[in-house]
C-alpha cells in the first residue's frame, strides 16, 4: 500500500532518475536539458551581476556570469530584469520531526537512567540521529520555501545532547534520495532536559553545564580505551567529534554560558540565541562563536488599560522598541550570525522583520550572509550551498526586485534545480473601488483581500447589495443580487486579472444581457497614506538607550573609582579604634588610603562633608540566593560538581536594591535540596558590570552543604537519605570516595611517562575533584544547619577526614553547641529572629547570635532572602536588641565577621588603610531604622547614591510614558496586540527550584 502511494506520487511529479534503480512502470529516460536564466540581476559576493545568466544542470550550477554562452539543449527563462539570490539556509529547525511526547512519570522522581549500554544520564543522547524520526512535510516545506529557504538542517530539539541533525533540500517533487544533502550534519546541545525521560538530573541550568563538562571529560577518558564497559553514547560522541556543534541556548545569558563552555572545551559551538543579545553583546563579543538569531520581534502591548500599564516594566517596553535593532548591534560588534525563522509564530513575517532589522541598522550584505553563507559555513556545507557559483547546488530565488525592498516578492524558489513557484506573476493586487453601471444603475464595488480570497462589497445609492465573489486561477467573478422591479435579480461580471489598475471583461446584466466592461480603479490615496505612516512608526530607531542591565535602574556606564575625602564623619572602623567621631576618611584608586582627624585634602580630591553622617564598611551577606538563575540542583544527593558561578544573573534588580541597603558583597549559595549542594559564587554588587567583573577577585572557593529537613524531603520518589542518620553516611561515603580518588590520581601522576603508557589513566570526576579540594583544605564548606545533633555530626565527619567546617549557616541551634563549635573552629552565620515556620526551628531564638559570640564563635547574620538582605543593618540591630553584646560587635555580625568567615577580611569588612574602599555613608546611626544608606561605594566607585536615585525614578517615569505613547501608535482597532503581562517577582530562598 505504501509503495503504491509513493509510486503514484512519483508518477504525478516526475521522478528524478536514480540510475541504478529498476523501472517497471515504463521505460528509463534520462534528462540532458540545461535550465538557463537570462537577463537577471544575479547576486554574488562581489556585487550584483547585471543582465546576468545562470546555467543549471542536474541540480547544480554549471555556469554564471554576464557573458555566458547558452548550450543548445537549454530551456531558457528570460527573467527580464528580475533578481536571482542564493536561496536561504535554515540552520535551526525541527522540520519533519514530530514533537517528542513528555514521558509521564506520575509524581515520583526517577534518579536512575532508563537505558542501558548508554551514558549514565538519559538526557545525553549523542547516539541519536534525527533522520530516523523524520518524514518530509510538504506543508512545512512550502512555509519555509515561501520565505526563501531552500535547504533546512533539522534536529529533534529535545535533551541536553540531542544527537545529530540532517540536512535536506525542500523539494516537493522528488524523494529523499534526491533531497538529502547530509544525513548527519551536526551535533546539537542545549541546557534543557529531554521530555522523553523523567530522570531527575540535571534539574537546573548549572546541572546541565556540569553534565556537559563531565561528558567531555568522560569522552576523553573513554577514547583512551580506559573503560571496561561499553558506552554507546560516548562512542557516538567520539565518532562525531569532527561534526559542527550547535547549541540551542535560547536566552541571552545562556548564550554567554554556552560560549564559555565552548571556549573551555574548544567545541566551537554555534549558538542559537533569543533575539535579546543586544543586552549583553559586550560580553558575547569576547567570544568567537557564531550565533543563530531569530527575528521574532515582540508585538506591542495593548496599552489601553492604565491600571495594567503601571505593572509593565521598562524592560518589557524596551524589548518592543529595541528588538528590531538586535541584528544591527551584533553586526556592529563584529559577531557572526545566521538568521533563523524558527521562533516566528507567523513565518510570513520573516522577510518583513529582516527588513525592519535593516531599517534599524543591519546592513543588507550582513543580512544575506546571515541567511546563506554563514549558516552554510556553520554546517560545514559551504562547498555546496549558500552561494551562487559553479559547482554549487542550484538553490536560488527569483525575486521581483532587490530582496530587501519592501515591495519585493519572491516569485520562484529553485532547489537543486527543481522549480517551485512561490507567487505567480499574474496574482495581482486589485484591492480598491470600482464603479459599475449596470442597467443604468450605479454600483460601487469595493474589492478587498484580492491576493488570498477576494471579497467584493457592493453598494447602490449607499444601500448594501448582496454579492458573491470567486477567484479561480486568475479569473475573478462577482455576482450582484439586487431587487429590480420588485423582484430579486442578479447580474454577473467576469474578468481575467491582468492589471492592478482596472477590471475588464464581460458580464451579464440583470436582464441576462451580455455586456463588455473596462473599469479603472478609483483613486484612493488617503487610505494608503495612513497605512504608510503606521508602518513608518514601527521603524523608528531606539527611543531608549540600552542600559546595564537593561531595566529601570540600569546604568549607561559603569561607575569609576573616585578620589574622595570624607570629612568629619562617625566611623565604625571594626578595628581597635572602635567607633570614632569627627574623623576623616580618604579613598583613592579603590582603596582606603587614610583615616584620621583633620586630614589634609590631597590635590584634586573631592571633599564630602560627612558631619552627622556615619560611615561603615559595606555590608556582607554570607547567605544569599540573589542574582543567579539556578539555585538548586536536586537531581542527585550530591551535586558538588555544579557551580553558581556558572549561572550568575547580573540583571537581578535585587543587586540594586541591596546596594540601596548598604550591601556590597554577597555569597550566592546553592540551595538546600541535597546534603552536598554546589559551589557558591562570591560577588561584589557591581551593578551594571559584566559577570566576570562581579566575582570577588581572589576569593577562596566555597561549597554549600545542607543538613536538616530540606535534604530529607526529596520531592516524590525515593532518594537516599530520608533521615539524619542517612545524611551522615552520604557525607562519609562521598569523602571516602574522594580520598581514594585523590590517591588514585596521585599514584598515576607519580608514574613516569613510560609507566603511564602501560596503565589506563584514571577518570576525571568533577564531583570528586571538588570534594577532594574540601579535604585538602582548598575549598571551604558553608553548611545549612538547624538542630544540634546534626551540627555536631558534621563536625565529627570533618574531623574524621582531618579538615574543618568553615561556616554553619542558619545554625539556629548553634547556641546549644557553641562550645563545641568554638573548639572545632567553625563560624556561625544565622538569622536574627526567624522561627516557627518548620519543626526544626522550634528552638530557634533571637539570642542565638549573641550566645554563640560570647562562647567564642565568629558570628554573622545572613538573609537567605533577597528582600531581607536589603536591610541587614536592621538584622544587626535585632542581634543587639536581644543579645548581650555591644553595638559595635553587633555591627561586625554583618560586616567584619562574614568577611572573616569567607576569608575576605584582608580585603573588606572594616575601615582600615589598605582595604578596599567598599564603604557606605549612612544618614545616621547605621542600625537605627530611621537611617538610610545615602551612598554605597565599591572599590571607590559610587554604585548607589540617594540623590541620583531620585533622578532615576523620574527618568523611568518619563521613559515609560514615552514608550507607551509610541505603543499607542500601534494600538489601532483590530491590531494584533499582546496583553500586558508583567512577570512575578520571586523572593528566592534555599528552596527555590528553577523553572
Amino acid at each position: 500500500m505504501r509503495r503504491f502511494f509513493f509510486l503514484s506520487f512519483f508518477l504525478s511529479f516526475g521522478l528524478y532518475g536514480q540510475d541504478y534503480f529498476i523501472v517497471n512502470d515504463g521505460i528509463k529516460t534520462k534528462d540532458y536539458q540545461y535550465n538557463v536564466f537570462t537577463n537577471a540581476n544575479i547576486y554574488s559576493d562581489k556585487g550584483i551581476i547585471n543582465k546576468g545568466t545562470l546555467v543549471e544542470k542536474d541540480g547544480k550550477i554549471v555556469d554564471l556570469g554576464s557573458n555566458i554562452s547558452i548550450p543548445k539543449n537549454s530551456i531558457v527563462f528570460d527573467l527580464d530584469g528580475k533578481f536571482i539570490y542564493p536561496s536561504f539556509v535554515e540552520i535551526h529547525s525541527s522540520f519533519g520531526i514530530k514533537k517528542p511526547q513528555r514521558k509521564s512519570s506520575g509524581r515520583s522522581s526517577q534518579y536512575e537512567p532508563s537505558r542501558s549500554g548508554y551514558y549514565w544520564n538519559d538526557h545525553i543522547m549523542s547516539d541519536y540521529n534525527s533522520f530516523g524520526d523524520y518524514n518530509y512535510n510538504q506543508k512545512e516545506a512550502k512555509g519555509l520555501r515561501d520565505i526563501g529557504f531552500g535547504v533546512v538542517t533539522s534536529h529533534r530539539n529535545d535533551g541536553v545532547h540531542r544527537g545529530t541533525s540532517f540536512t535536506v533540500g525542500l523539494i516537493d517533487n522528488q524523494n529523499e534520495s534526491y533531497r538529502i544533502i547530509s544525513k548527519k550534519t551536526a551535533e546539537h546541545y542545549s541546557f534543557s532536559k529531554s521530555l522523553t525521560s523523567s530522570q531527575s538530573y540535571p534539574s537546573s541550568t548549572m546541572g546541565a553545564i556540569a553534565l556537559i563538562r563531565q561528558l567531555h571529560y568522560d569522552s576523553d577518558w573513554y577514547s583512551q580505551g580506559s573503560s571496561e564497559t561499553k558506552d554507546l553514547s560516548l562512542e557516538a560522541l567520539i565518532e562525531n567529534k569532527k561534526l559542527p556543534k550547535l547549541f540551542d541556548a535560547n536566552d541571552k545569558l545562556n548564550v554567554y554560558r554556552a560560549a564559555k563552555l565552548s571556549n573551555e572545551f574548544d567545541l566551537n559551538f554555534v549558538i542559537k540565541g533569543s533575539g535579546k543579545e543586544y543586552e549583553n553583546v559586550r560580553e558575547l563579543k569576547k567570544f568567537n562563536n557564531t550565533l543563530i538569531i531569530p527575528v521574532n520581534f515582540p508585538k506591542a502591548f495593548d496599552v489601553s488599560n492604565t491600571n495594567l500599564n503601571e505593572k509593565l516594566t521598562i524592560n518589557q517596553l524596551r524589548y518592543w522598541n529595541q528588538a528590531p535593532a538586535n541584528l544591527g548591534v551584533l553586526e556592529k560588534n563584529g559577531i557572526n550570525f545566521s538568521i533563523t525563522s524558527s521562533d516566528l509564530k507567523n513565518k510570513k513575517d520573516f522577510l518583513n522583520n529582516i527588513r525592519r532589522a535593516i531599517k534599524n541598522g543591519l546592513s543588507e550584505k550582513a543580512a544575506i550572509d546571515a541567511l546563506t553563507t554563514i549558516p552554510a559555513k556553520s554546517l560545514n556545507l559551504s562547498d555546496k550551498i549558500g552561494e551562487l557559483d559553479k559547482g554549487f547546488l542550484a538553490n536560488f530565488l527569483i525575486t521581483s526586485g532587490p530582496i530587501f525592498d519592501d515591495k519585493t516578492e519572491i516569485n520562484e524558489n529553485w532547489v537543486k534545480g527543481q522549480r517551485h513557484i512561490v507567487k505567480s506573476n499574474d496574482n495581482l493586487n486589485i484591492d480598491g473601488n470600482y464603479t459599475f453601471n449596470i442597467n443604468d444603475k450605479k454600483y460601487e464595488v469595493k474589492i478587498s483581500n484580492s491576493l488570498l480570497r477576494p471579497k467584493a462589497y457592493i453598494k447602490r445609492d449607499s444601500i448594501d447589495i448582496k454579492s458573491k465573489t470567486s477567484l479561480v486561477d486568475d479569473w475573478l467573478s462577482v455576482s450582484f443580487f439586487d431587487s429590480i422591479d420588485g423582484g430579486l435579480s442578479f447580474a454577473q461580471i467576469s474578468s481575467k486579472i491582468s492589471s492592478t489598475n482596472n477590471l475588464s471583461g464581460r458580464g451579464l446584466d440583470f436582464n441576462n444581457e451580455p455586456f463588455l466592461f473596462n473599469i479603472p480603479k478609483n483613486e484612493t490615496k488617503k487610505q494608503n497614506e495612513s497605512k504608510r505612516t503606521k508602518k513608518d512608526s514601527l521603524d523608528e530607531p531606539f527611543v531608549s538607550d540600552v542600559t546595564f542591565p537593561n531595566i529601570g535602574f540600569g546604568v549607561s556606564s559603569i561607575p569609576e573609582s573616585r578620589s574622595i575625602h570624607f570629612k568629619n564623619a562617625t566611623l565604625w572602623t571594626n578595628e581597635n579604634e572602635g567607633i570614632i567621631e569627627n574623623t576623616d576618611i580618604i579613598i583613592d584608586n579603590g582603596k582606603i588610603i587614610d583615616i584620621g582627624r583633620n586630614l589634609k585634602t590631597p590635590p584634586n580630591f573631592t571633599v564630602i562633608d560627612a558631619s552627622d553622617k556615619h560611615i561603615t564598611s559595606g555590608i556582607i551577606d554570607e547567605h544569599s540566593h540573589m542574582a543567579a538563575t539556578s539555585i538548586n540542583e536536586g537531581g542527585h544527593n550530591s551535586s558538588a560538581e555544579v557551580s553558581i558561578m556558572d549561572v550568575i544573573d547580573p540583571d537581578d534588580i535585587s543587586i540594586y536594591r541591596n546596594l540601596a541597603g548598604g550591601v556590597t558583597t554577597v555569597q550566592i549559595l546553592h540551595g538546600s535540596a541535597n546534603p552536598i549542594g554546589g559551589q557558591s559564587a562570591i560577588i561584589k554588587l557591581k551593578w551594571g558590570s559584566e559577570i566576570d567583573n562581579m566575582f570577588f577577585e581572589g576569593a577562596d572557593p566555597f561549597i554549600k552543604f545542607a543538613l536538616g529537613e530540606n535534604v530529607k524531603r526529596s520531592r516524590g520518589g525515593l532518594r537516599f537519605p530520608e533521615t539524619r542518620m542517612g545524611v551522615e553516611q552520604v557525607f562519609i561515603d562521598h569523602f571516602d570516595r574522594a580520598k581514594h580518588y585523590g590517591e588514585t590520581w596521585n599514584q598515576y601522576n607519580s608514574l613516569n611517562k613510560r609507566q603511564k603508557r602501560s596503565v589506563s589513566k584514571p577518570r576525571y570526576d568533577e564531583e570528586l575533584e571538588t570534594l577532594l579540594e574540601v579535604i585538602d583544605g582548598k575549598r571551604f564548606i558553608s553548611s545549612h544547619s538547624y538542630v544540634q545533633s546534626e551540627i555536631n555530626m558534621l563536625m565529627k565527619v570533618a574531623e574524621k577526614f582531618d579538615f574543618r567546617i568553615k561556616i554553619f549557616t542558619h545554625i539556629l541551634e548553634g547556641y546549644k553547641v557553641a562550645d563545641k563549635m568554638a573548639k572545632h573552629g567553625v563560624g556561625g552565620s544565622t538569622f536574627s529572629d526567624w522561627w516557627g515556620y518548620k519543626f526544626e526551628v522550634n528552638d530557634a531564638i533571637p539570642y542565638n547570635a549573641s550566645i554563640m559570640h560570647n562562647a567564642g564563635v565568629t558570628v554573622a547574620l545572613n538573609s537567605d532572602n533577597s528582600e531581607l538582605s536589603r536591610r541587614l543593618n536592621l538584622e544587626a540591630a535585632k542581634a543587639f536588641k536581644y543579645g548581650e553584646i555591644s553595638e559595635e560587635e553587633a555591627w561586625k555580625f554583618v560586616t567584619l565577621n562574614p568577611a572573616k568567615l569567607l576569608n575576605l577580611d584582608d580585603r573588606v569588612g572594616s575601615l582600615k588603610v589598605g582595604k578596599d574602599a567598599d564603604i557606605v555613608m549612612w544618614s545616621g546611626h547605621p542600625m537605627s531604622l530611621y537611617t538610610k544608606a545615602e551612598k554605597t561605594y565599591i572599590e571607590g566607585a559610587l554604585y548607589f547614591d540617594i540623590d541620583e536615585h531620585k533622578i532615576k525614578i523620574d527618568k523611568i517615569k518619563d521613559e515609560k510614558s514615552e514608550l507607551i505613547k509610541q505603543m499607542f501608535a500601534e494600538n489601532t482597532p483590530g491590531a494584533n496586540l499582546k496583553f500586558p503581562n508583567p512577570l512575578p517577582q520571586i523572593e528566592v530562598d534555599c528552596d527555590y527550584i528553577e523553572f
Partner: protein
C-alpha cells in the same frame, strides 16, 4: 503511624510550657518620670500614670509636688525616669494561635475547606498558650485580631489580649469582623502547563463576582425568614445590620474599587480595606468613602522591578496625607506570623519616611483600636481606659532601643519571659558556668 503519634506527643510537651497568666490587679500602680506616648499623637515629657482595678485613673504631666501628692495613693511605685510608656500595641490580621508551625499540618488551623465560610469563627481554635503568642509580649505587642485565612469569605475574627489561660479568657471582642478576600482580576500564567509566566486577565473574574453576588443576595433574602436554618445566612446577617465589620482584602486598585462599590451596594458601611499595596491611585476614592486602610507592612518587594525600592515605605504617608485612617497589616513578609512582634518596627520604618513618630505610633495603637471598635477601652493612655500598656527603656519603635521592662494588660503585670528567654538563660548559663 508510629511516627505521627510520636510527633504529636512531642508537640504537646513543647506547646504546653507557657507563662502563667497574671492574676487580676489587686494593687494599684503608679509609674512616674517617663515620657508617655498617649497613642493619639500627643506625648507627656515628664509624666505620671496611675491605674487601679485594671483601669487608668491618672495620666498627667508631673513635677515634684504632683509626684509627692500621688505617690502615697498607690501601692506599687515604678520609677520610669528616662523610660517611655506606650499603650499596648494592637496587631490586626494575624493568625497567631491558629498556627504553631507552618510546615507541620497538624498545627495549622487557620484555613478551612470552602470558598464562603462566614460561619467559621477563629476564636474557638485560638491557642492562648501558643509559644508564638507569648513571644509577642516582650516587644510590646499585647492585643491582636485573630483572623482566619483562605477562600473568598474566610470566616470571622475576634479580638484577644495576649495573657490568658484559654480563649474565653483571652477574648476582648467576639466575632468582630468578617474577612472577605476579593477575587483577583488577574492571574499569573501557569508556567508548569506551558503558559507564559506573566500576568494575565483572570478569565473567571466575572463569574467569581457573580457567585459572590449570589451568595450575598441569598444571605440578604434569607434574613426575612425568622427561623432560618441556614447557618451561612445567619452568619452573614450582622454585616447587613452594620454590627460586624467587613475586612476587604484588596491590593489592586480594581479590586478596591469593585469591592467597595459592591459592599456599598448592600448598604454596608463598616468596611476596612486590608493590604492595599496597589492603592496609590485610588486614595481619593478610599478617602471619599471614608474607609480605613490596614496597609501591608513595608518589608516587601515594591510592585515592579522599576518601582522605587522605597515605595513600600512611602505608602503609609501618602494615605495619611489624604486623611485616611491607617493601620498596619503585618502579613506579606517572610515568617509573617512570628514576626508580628516586629510590628512596632514596621511603624518605625514608616515613620522614617516622613511620618511623625507619634503619628506612626497611632498606626499600631489608637487606629487599630478604632478599626476594631475597642477604642473606648484600648489604643490610648487616657483616664478611664484599660491599663494595657508597657514601659520601654528607649524608643519602642526603633529596634536598637526597644527594651520592654514592664507590661500590663488590664492592670495585670504580665511575664516577659518566653520559651525563647528560657532557652537563652539556660544556655548562657551553660557556658558562663563552664568557664568558671
Amino acid at each position: 503511624m508510629k511516627k505521627i503519634i510520636l510527633l504529636n506527643i512531642l508537640f504537646l510537651n513543647l506547646i504546653y510550657s507557657q507563662q502563667t497568666p497574671a492574676p487580676d490587679q489587686d494593687k494599684s500602680v503608679l509609674i512616674f518620670g517617663a515620657v508617655t506616648h498617649i497613642g493619639n499623637g500627643d506625648t507627656i515629657k515628664n509624666s505620671i500614670i496611675g491605674f487601679n482595678n485594671g483601669v487608668i485613673d491618672l495620666v498627667a504631666p508631673s513635677d515634684d509636688n504632683i509626684l509627692t501628692e500621688n505617690i502615697k495613693k498607690y501601692d506599687t511605685i515604678i520609677d520610669a525616669t528616662n523610660s517611655h510608656v506606650y499603650p499596648g500595641i494592637i496587631a490586626l490580621n494575624t493568625n497567631l494561635g491558629l498556627v504553631e508551625i507552618d510546615a507541620v499540618r497538624a498545627t495549622v488551623d487557620d484555613d478551612d475547606i470552602g470558598a464562603y465560610l462566614p460561619e467559621i469563627r477563629s476564636i474557638v481554635a485560638y491557642n492562648a498558650e501558643s509559644k508564638a503568642v507569648e513571644s509577642m509580649r516582650p516587644n510590646g505587642v499585647l492585643l491582636a485580631q485573630i483572623a482566619p485565612n483562605g477562600g473568598i469569605i474566610s470566616g470571622k475574627s475576634s479580638v484577644v489580649q495576649f495573657d490568658a489561660w484559654n480563649w474565653e479568657d483571652a477574648v476582648i471582642e467576639y466575632d468582630q469582623g468578617i474577612h472577605l478576600n476579593w477575587p483577583s482580576p488577574y492571574t499569573y500564567g501557569r508556567w508548569w502547563l506551558g503558559e507564559d509566566r506573566g500576568l494575565k486577565a483572570n478569565s473567571n473574574y466575572n463569574n467569581q463576582i457573580k457567585d459572590l453576588k449570589d451568595f450575598f443576595e441569598k444571605s440578604r433574602v434569607n434574613m426575612s425568614i425568622e427561623k432560618s436554618m441556614n447557618l451561612k445566612s445567619i452568619a452573614m446577617r450582622p454585616i447587613f445590620e452594620g454590627l460586624t465589620t467587613v475586612y476587604l482584602y484588596a491590593d489592586d486598585e480594581k479590586e478596591i474599587v469593585d469591592g467597595v462599590t459592591f459592599l456599598k451596594g448592600y448598604g454596608i458601611d463598616k468596611i476596612v480595606i486590608v493590604g492595599a499595596t496597589g492603592s496609590k491611585n485610588q486614595l481619593n476614592f478610599i478617602k471619599k468613602n471614608n474607609i480605613p486602610v490596614v496597609v501591608k507592612q513595608p518589608y516587601r518587594f515594591p510592585q515592579s522591578t522599576d518601582s522605587d525600592p522605597m515605595e513600600t515605605f512611602e505608602i503609609a504617608k501618602k494615605m495619611l496625607d489624604q486623611g485616611i485612617l491607617v493601620s498596619i497589616d503585618p502579613t506579606g513578609t517572610t515568617m509573617a506570623r512570628v514576626s508580628v512582634r516586629n510590628l512596632p518596627f514596621y511603624a518605625g520604618s514608616f515613620s522614617s519616611f516622613g511620618i511623625d513618630k507619634e503619628i506612626a505610633l497611632s498606626l499600631i495603637t489608637l487606629n487599630p483600636a478604632k478599626i476594631l471598635g475597642i477604642d473606648k477601652d484600648y489604643g490610648t493612655l487616657e483616664i478611664g481606659k484599660s491599663a494595657t500598656l508597657f514601659i520601654s527603656s528607649g524608643d519602642a519603635l526603633d529596634i536598637i532601643s526597644n527594651d520592654v521592662t514592664h507590661a500590663f494588660i488590664s492592670g495585670r503585670e504580665i511575664s516577659l519571659e518566653t520559651h525563647q528567654t528560657r532557652l537563652w538563660r539556660r544556655y548562657s548559663n551553660k557556658y558562663s558556668n563552664s568557664q568558671k
